[in-house]
């Protein structure tokens, strides 16, 4: 089969729509664990690759970093898609990831969420999953779009459950949907539903077979752990924890839905139709990323998880963004890859295709982040919206795509975190370490830590309310 280019967005939507997944029932909606404000808080980390059109080598001003005072500021070209969400965001200038490996994509990706040199620490998303999100059926959800392309090595992934060891995201929206919501539909406690998914049969109560299976597995695990030295024991810790989560889901099956909107009772998502071939096809990328965003929002809305990471592509990306139909980069006559464009040269040269494309690419990533915010904001909750109860971070592993420096990192924070964050501001930090940002995020999620990462940098001054 020949891979086709030039498929219109409408065609894609049509294709997806026809084969969309619909799940008939979702019986295991959990009561949402209450945060301080009465509603669960969520944290989402949204990653895109290869930096932004920051300050150039030649000193051209950044096309990313907002300019102005704390409350009166303008958004440069690459942040334009956030104009409608200006009041929902905190634009952060001046944060540094430190000198180590500065200039390196992998070095940046390792530090990005861990704030540890070389990725030698737990990442903020995993730390929150273990703490703030521990009561949810799924502690952490890690979704990707072409984030395992070409057998990407571990230094391309940003979520670290243990020091030095990243995990891989799920790139297939269909698989992710089934994982989160279960297969359902077959009636009875079909074996295929397994422990996965918060959806099972409508029959009340846990399936005794599943309960026995998970008990047996936990026994085997404990027995094995008893034989191990510390290193291997720590390696099994995540496995053990994952079994415990499955145990919780299984043993509370049949708990009637509490607090979730009716739409969660029959979740559907335009995720079907992603064949392996499509998953690697750059023309499908926008639809896949959108499906993953939708899925993350749905999972959070339905109380299935409180902490998620969305990884769009990987650093030094070979994603041919000029094949995104309908985007401003679209050009069927020319293949422009993300990483290729990011090396636009020493100056912002409007005559250069790499540069103009790179600006557009950055804008496109930001528009996807804006879409995520749209979705959160369009869902009313507890007198406000989901966005009011969430903290969402937009991040990439280097600042300027050409210089690769790890200073003045392009972070944008969004959402009120249940009142913990006052948005609509521009904050500048003169070289403070980004571990402080993660510490602030942790605090906004109710985790009162002093610092995060391998520096003593505490929460960023002025970021959190009160």
């Amino acid at each position: 089969m020949t891979r086709r280019e030039g498929v219109s967005r409408r065609q894609i939507l049509h294709l997806l729509g026809r084969s969309a997944l619909f799940l008939p029932f979702l019986s295991l909606l959990r009561p949402r664990p209450a945060g301080a404000a009465g509603v669960a808080k969520r944290a989402i980390f949204f990653y895109f690759p290869d930096g932004v059109a920051g300050p150039s080598q030649e000193g051209d001003p950044s096309l990313w970093h907002a300019q102005g005072s704390e409350t009166d500021f303008t958004l440069p070209a690459q942040l334009e898609p956030l104009t409608a969400h200006k009041g929902d965001c905190v634009f952060l200038n001046g944060l540094s990831m430190g000198p180590t490996d500065s200039g390196s994509h992998p070095g940046g990706a390792k530090k990005l969420l861990t704030a540890f040199d070389g990725g030698n620490g737990e990442s903020i998303d995993q730390m929150l999953a273990r703490t703030a999100g521990a009561q949810a059926p799924f502690r952490h959800v890690y979704l990707g779009a072409a984030a395992n392309a070409n057998n990407a090595s571990g230094d391309k992934h940003i979520s670290y459950p243990s020091p030095g060891q990243s995990i891989t995201p799920e790139d297939n929206p269909r698989q992710a949907f089934e994982f989160l919501f279960g297969k359902g539909g077959s009636g009875g406690s079909s074996g295929a539903a397994g422990a996965g998914g918060a959806a099972g049969s409508a029959a009340s109560g846990p399936d005794p077979v599943e309960v026995s299976v998970i008990d047996g597995l936990l026994d085997d695990m404990k027995e094995l752990q008893g034989k191990l030295g510390d290193t291997e024991k720590s390696k099994l810790a995540l496995h053990f924890e994952s079994l415990r989560q499955a145990e919780k889901r299984i043993k509370s099956a049949g708990t009637p839905p509490v607090g979730a909107p009716p739409s969660c009772g029959s979740p559907s998502l335009d995720t079907a139709g992603f064949t392996d071939e499509q998953l690697g096809d750059p023309a499908s990328f926008p639809a896949i990323l959108r499906a993953q965003i939708d899925l993350m929002v749905l999972a959070m809305q339905c109380g299935l998880t409180q902490v998620g990471t969305i990884q769009a592509s990987i650093h030094t990306s070979e994603l041919i963004m000029s094949r995104f139909v309908g985007s401003e980069m679209y050009d069927p006559s020319f293949d422009m890859r993300s990483h290729q464009a990011s090396h636009y040269g020493a100056a912002h040269d409007p005559q250069k295709r790499e540069f103009t494309d790179f600006v557009k690419q950055g804008r496109w990533w930001v528009s996807q982040f804006a879409y995520l915010l749209d979705q959160l904001k369009s869902r009313p909750e507890d007198g406000g919206t989901m966005l009011d109860n969430s903290v969402v971070l937009l991040c990439t592993e280097v600042c300027d795509g050409n210089t690769h420096l790890h200073d003045n990192m392009p972070f944008v924070l969004a959402g009120g975190a249940g009142g913990a964050i006052k948005t609509g501001r521009l904050l500048s930090y003169d070289g403070l370490r980004h571990g402080g940002l993660h510490a602030s995020i942790a605090r906004s999620m109710g985790q009162m830590i002093g610092s995060f990462g391998d520096t003593p940098q505490g929460p960023l001054p002025g970021l959190l309310s009160g």
């Binding site: 089969m1 020949t2 891979r3 280019e5 080598q57 030649e58 000198p99 490996d101 390196s104 992998p106 070389g118 799924f138 395992n148 392309a149 070409n150 057998n151 990407a152 090595s153 571990g154 243990s162 060891q165 995990i167 799920e170 698989q175 994982f179 074996g191 397994g194 422990a195 996965g196 005794p208 026995s212 299976v213 047996g216 597995l217 026994d219 085997d220 094995l224 034989k227 290193t231 291997e232 390696k235 099994l236 079994l243 499955a246 750059p282 030094t316 006559s333 020319f334 990483h339 290729q340 464009a341 090396h343 636009y344 020493a346 040269d349 005559q351 250069k352 050409n402 210089t403 690769h404």
Partner: protein, 795 residues
């Protein structure tokens, strides 16, 4: 793989002038140091960093080795090598100039990309580690440290194979174990075109085939044939394929010839004809009858019921073809090409969910009554049946006999269920997603000297996964039980048995694709404007070509590594032959065959589309990726991290060849520090475009595929090997020691699921020697790995 950080040095004019004034000096330093400060003119100082650096340093002694080991891996190894053997940076192993000087140099100047990164205690720790552990050469062998005890999570490939084997083998896998799939005989060793991976065939037909559709299989052993066909009373005994003989196709992944044909009911006699000349009985069919010429014909009795299912006992459990489709992909550490990283195997919630789902699906199938796995009627199972299941399946799933408390625990699980069927289901599901199944144990037993030694069962598992990628078969478990695996010779006997079995081919092919980094070709996206004939199926066929070629060389050809690079033939099917512009193989559509290559392509695997296309961009070739591939993958010469600010890939320019566009790399002294090692090698591939087709010109200009394989044995050595085109590059490679040493290292990484460390130095040396001694016989290398103490010793 090094990121394709192509360094063109092209800057707009206004930029260049300002650059010189504002940033010139500091940027040049940054760029040069990112390439590890190794200029072309750097003198070759063995076992030492630069002279000088005589400052007092941060004190001597007292560094923390363990911390130093970690830091060395992060900060130093990419340039100086995992073992301090050198790379882009100088060799550091066997340092003789004293600790104070070493500390001082690290403190002040290392790593060159960021000297502030490792000062004070860091420098002391790293120095302590280097002095204590990186001794270089054979010095460490007498006190060889060992790999740590560990658990190794099954990769998707291993999980899938293990599960299928557990379910398709007869349940009687106890000591005795004659019933397993062993040896090479048996007409139904595998199922040629009935979806080889998902079905097995029984009694001459695939289980799902109609009764009269028979599968013929011929295992050529170590011999090579051009053709095999079936001739008998059903087709008029034709001596040739052209005369109506039923041609069998060669299935490289299994190393057998196979084909299926409809045979009418009744008794038939037939023979196999090799190379249209040699008539033999079907060695896989025990039924014979005298042929009247002093020999035998094979006998095939086909008795099909009017409307019936194919009969047969012990049918395999039907499993979904995409059993592991939803499993998370394996995390591969940087620099580690394989899917079996021991460190990377972390089990997340997604894993647990997928394991349990798969186990549930498998159990449902197994209890369907079709499997011999369950030794009784599920609906009337009693405790004795459950115990038999636990002991039999447990022994194979956990790759060891179960301990009595384990048996008791599983029996209790069975007993706790309301219905016997549920009880069996729980037992099956727990067993198939138990950590004892999912992790291969390398924990060992304590030895008097404080080290550990793998148990015989663990050794059986290690052998089985290395060669077959699956659970040990009954013979291997029996060998473990009988104590046959306690000596290197005993291990070797089993290693050779596994290697001789066709099942070793699939793993060898998987190794090859991963080693060469060409799995990606199956998903490669190329410019449809420039390469409209490159389709998804083309990439898939290219991977198949490399699989078939590699297994042919290793199992059917000379077995020698060199043949991989010098072969004047390859394997193609018709579409791939047409794509490459090669003559079509004999046989019809869908048939793969060996074809000889035109002179320009006689470079073995180097001229495979899988490599040429994987190491290229979507719209142009990449001498950089191809050059880095040779350095890092084939020669194990890592080039470190590319510098920032290096500029992008030069645009496709209809008026210049790729080579001209990249000339800046070697004209610009900054770029040259690294690219002198990359581009002159990568240019040798220029006779092939970005999808692996030959080309004589680019943009109307004749292709120049000359190059120089400098410093092939060691970066910085100052040697040259000029060549023109791939065959000459291949010749230069096979005449180097480093190609062979690197291959041994790569296979060792695959077998051990880890990048090498000082603990492996001694083992690697012994393995390389054995490999050299064998004339670089790849099979001998595979066996040598199992004879090394690193195979069974742990700490």
């Amino acid at each position: 793989m090094l990121d394709p950080h192509d360094c063109t040095g092209r800057q707009p004019a206004r930029v260049r002038s300002r650059l010189g004034l504002l940033l010139g000096a500091s940027m040049l330093v940054a760029l040069a140091s990112a390439c590890a400060g190794l200029g072309a003119s750097a003198p070759d100082e063995a076992a030492g960093v630069d002279a000088g650096g005589s400052g007092p340093g941060a004190g001597g002694g007292g560094g923390d080795r363990a911390s130093g080991a970690k830091l060395y891996g992060q900060l130093c190894a990419s340039c100086h090598g995992q073992l301090g053997e050198g790379g882009v940076g100088k060799p550091i192993a066997g340092w003789t100039r004293g600790e104070a000087e070493l500390v001082s140099i690290i403190d002040a100047r290392m790593p060159t990309t960021d000297p502030s990164r490792c000062t004070g205690a860091c420098a002391a720790d790293v120095a302590a580690y280097i002095l204590a552990e990186l001794k270089g050469g054979a010095a460490t062998c007498s006190e060889a440290p060992l790999l740590p005890r560990r658990l190794r999570l099954l990769s998707r490939r291993e999980y899938e194979a293990s599960v299928r084997d557990l379910l398709s083998a007869p349940g009687t896998s106890g000591a005795g174990g004659a019933g397993g799939a062993t040896g090479t005989g048996g007409a139904c060793k595998l199922d040629a075109d009935c979806a080889i991976e998902s079905e097995s065939c029984v009694g001459g037909a695939c289980a799902k085939d109609p009764c009269n559709l028979r599968t013929f299989v011929f295992s050529p052993g170590s011999k090579t044939y051009k053709s095999v066909h079936v001739a008998g009373d059903f087709n008029g005994w034709p001596a040739t394929i052209g005369g109506g003989g039923w041609a069998l196709g060669y299935v490289a992944s299994k190393g057998i010839w196979a084909g299926k044909h409809v045979v009418d009911s009744g008794g038939h006699q037939y023979k196999l004809v090799l190379d249209e000349a040699t008539w033999v009985v079907d060695p896989g069919n025990p039924k014979k009858s005298p042929d009247g010429f002093g020999g035998d014909n094979s006998v095939l009795d086909v008795a099909c019921p009017a409307e019936g299912q194919p009969g047969g006992q012990g049918q395999p459990v039907g499993l979904p073809a995409d059993l592991t489709k939803g499993f998370p992909v394996e995390s591969r550490p940087k620099g580690f090409a394989f899917d079996d990283s021991a460190d990377g195997g972390l089990v997340t919630s997604v894993h647990v969910d997928q394991y349990m789902k798969a186990a549930s699906a498998i159990a449902a199938q197994a209890l369907d009554g079709a499997s011999a796995l369950v030794p009784c009627q599920a609906s009337t199972a009693d405790a004795a049946c459950a115990e038999a299941l636990v002991r039999q399946l447990g022994r194979r799933a956990f790759r060891r006999p179960l301990a009595e408390p384990e048996v008791a625990r599983y029996k209790a699980l069975f007993g706790a269920q309301a219905a016997p069927e549920s009880g069996l289901r729980v037992v099956l599901e727990v067993m198939l997603s138990s950590p004892h199944f999912l992790y291969r144990s390398e924990l060992g037993e304590p030895q008097p000297d404080g080290t550990y030694r793998l148990t015989p069962y663990e050794i059986a598992g290690a052998l089985s996964y290395q060669f077959w990628g699956t659970s040990p078969d009954p013979d291997l478990l029996l060998a473990a039980e009988q104590g046959d695996l306690s000596t290197p010779d005993g291990i070797e006997v089993q290693a050779r048995r596994l290697l001789a079995d066709p099942r070793s081919r699939a793993v060898a092919a998987a190794f090859a694709l991963q080693w060469l980094g060409v799995e990606r070709i199956t998903g490669e996206v190329k410019s449809q404007l420039l390469f409209p004939t490159f389709e998804h199926a083309t990439g898939v066929a290219m991977a198949e070509e490399t699989s078939r070629f590699f297994t042919h060389v290793v199992f059917d050809g000379s077995h020698r590594l060199d043949e991989l690079f010098t072969a004047d033939y390859t394997f193609v099917d018709q579409p791939l032959a047409a794509f490459y512009g090669l003559p079509a193989p004999s046989g019809g559509a869908g048939q793969w065959g060996k074809v000889s290559l035109p002179p320009a392509r006689r470079a073995g695997v180097l001229a495979h589309g899988s490599i040429l296309g994987s190491y290229a961009h979507s719209d142009q070739t990449s001498p950089i990726r191809r050059g880095v591939f040779v350095r890092e993958t084939l020669l194990c010469q890592p080039l470190g991290t590319p510098p920032p600010q290096a500029g992008g890939v030069p645009k496709v320019d209809p008026n210049a060849t790729t080579r001209e566009r990249f000339r800046q790399h070697t004209d610009n002294p900054v770029c040259k520090t690294c690219h002198q090692y990359i581009d002159p090698v990568g240019f040798g591939f220029e006779g092939f475009d970005a999808v692996g087709r030959p080309r004589d010109t680019e943009g109307g200009v004749a292709i120049d595929a000359t190059g120089d394989l400098t410093d092939v044995e060691r970066l910085g050595a100052g040697t040259h090997a000029a060549f023109d085109g791939l065959p000459q590059l291949a010749a230069a490679l096979v005449s180097s020691e480093q190609l062979h040493a690197c291959f041994a290292l790569q296979y060792y990484r695959f077998a051990h699921g880890a990048l090498e460390g000082p603990a492996d130095a001694c083992a690697l040396q012994g393995i390389r020697e054995a490999f050299d001694k064998s004339g670089h016989d790849v099979q001998e290398l595979m066996v040598a790995v199992t004879r090394s103490p690193s195979f069974w010793g742990r700490k």
